[in-house]
Amino acid sequence: MTELRVAILSSSTLEVIERPLAAALRDRGFDPSFWIAGFGQFRQEILNPQSGLYAHDPSVVLLYLDGEDLFRDLLHNPFASLADQRRATGRQVAEDVASLAETIASRLPKATVVLNTASLAPLGPLTGLEYNSEFGVNDAVEEYNHAIAEFARRHSGAVVLDAAGLAATLGFSRWRDARMWYLARLRLSRDALAALAAGYAGLILARVGKIKKCIAVDLDNTLWGGIVGEDGFDGIKLGEDGIGLAFAEFQEELLNLYRKGVLLAVCSKNNPDDALQVIRKHPGMRLREEHFAALRINWEDKATNLQALAEELNIGLDSFVFIDDNPVERSWVRQSIPDVIVPEWPKDPVDYKAALLEIGVRYFPKLGITAEDRKRGEVYQAQAARRQLASSGTTLEDFYRALEMRVRIGRADAFTIPRIAQLTQKTNQFNLTTRRYTEAEIRVARDDEHTEIFWLELNDKFGPSGVVGVLILKENVSGEWNIDTFLLSCRVMGRTVENAFLAAIAQETGASRLIGEYLPTPKNAPVKDLYERLGFQHSHDVDGRRVWSLDDARKLEVPPWFEITIERSTAASGTSER
């Protein structure tokens, strides 16, 4: 459980969200502690530097501003203002909110400030007039939503929760509870509070937590209707006709997750020839072999196959979500491998797409898409080719040479900071200290003159792996550097990239003495002896940390099979738009 300090400020009563929000956060691996502003106090709390908000020192600040509070004046007499004035009002209100958010960000530079889109009751005095006459109020709201989204895109510390979207999903009449408004000045219903809590928790997970990496899917009656072994290639339901479209659209949603960087894998009890024929040739298939990072189609039990998939992809079982229409298989996987998430699955294929969208929001929340996300699927396919080379029976050194590895190293900049933060959040195995950083924290650290933040990008004969390594060093005294963070994406482990990275950085910083620590976690045993392997001496243990030191860091050598480039100005090519 990760400790998380949360502050909640709202334009109306919102204390009641603590209960559902605490549950939603605990469910996502956080141990939250809350501070909640009193009714009507949000402005004072933000403006007063000595307020309880800042005393709580939160890492997340939820500023929930309801449309009906923001536009109270407009709503008071909805016939008093015309379109131009209303749009100006929308912009003014947004500027006011943006300046409050900026005040928070300047006093809590490492925190994430969460704003929200606004919406108003669709049923009101303007119904009918709205969009048909000069009277309306939605243009003010649209202007507001647009402006705060723009603000959040410019400020790395601010993000937007689409509360208007949550209200529309639930239905606005169910979003409100008139009783609680009149009794307690609480605008939201029980269902709305639950939806808002889940929305905030998902956003926090996307920002600072550990999201899942891979969806493993069954085939028969999951990716297509029917059983290919019985109904045959032509007999399965998949494509434009009838219910076949439900399966095709479900596949399209899986494809959208793939495009957002989620790995897809197949885990199916089937005759491989039958199944592969469908995957390769069936005209209704939206997913093809190239979209799957790995496939397990055989008659082994599914828990065994999921374990094999985890090994092949080199990711933990707790990074998997498994989708299967068969409740017996689901329950078998649940009890055999509790780490794998096995969601309940609808009986009716018409509901598959919606169920998958829920899974996407719950387990794979994203606030942005990095270049690595977009090509992750291809990268894992190239990985399979590398494994084949490795098993082709030559020596390890021959394998390293045959890979033709080219490394680029550079310092954190605007282009690489999102990826650096993402790597600190997601990397578990090759991570010496497992310190999680947000983009804002990386930005603050970069401005510190005694801190150096490096990224590493790897290319080889099978293609680019993108930015896969991060080293953060802090200078103690001249020439002596502490290694705060040393991590590599698990997909480049076992290729001596770490030797190259540390040696190149020792030369670049001119470090004479390096101090490294190992903070054990349930995941990072693979790097327990890393510093020893690199020639460090064990110095001492403190609070469960092993501390190592290397007195002559200049002796570190880049293995001869690497070609190294140090970038001193431009960004990593892997993070530019493709």
Binding site: E15, V16, E18, R179, Y182, L183, L193
Partner: protein, 81 residues
Amino acid sequence: MLDPRLVETFSRVLDVDPSAVNGDTSPASLPKWDSVAHINLIFELEDAFEIRFASDEIPSLNTVARLQAAIDGHRRASGEP
């Protein structure tokens, strides 16, 4: 006689032992039963019993016995046993 589901919901929302819940339990005897806890309690009971309290009764449900009576009233009105 208190409905076990009422006792369960009450003890879960207010984080008290079920054995400590009786008809006379009130905000005076249980300071944790504040206005926020009261809203949570109303929401959770409405969900558990599939009922909806009226705005004028919500503030008056200030003992467990009164909660029980209101729940019984709503369930009788909806034809449940």
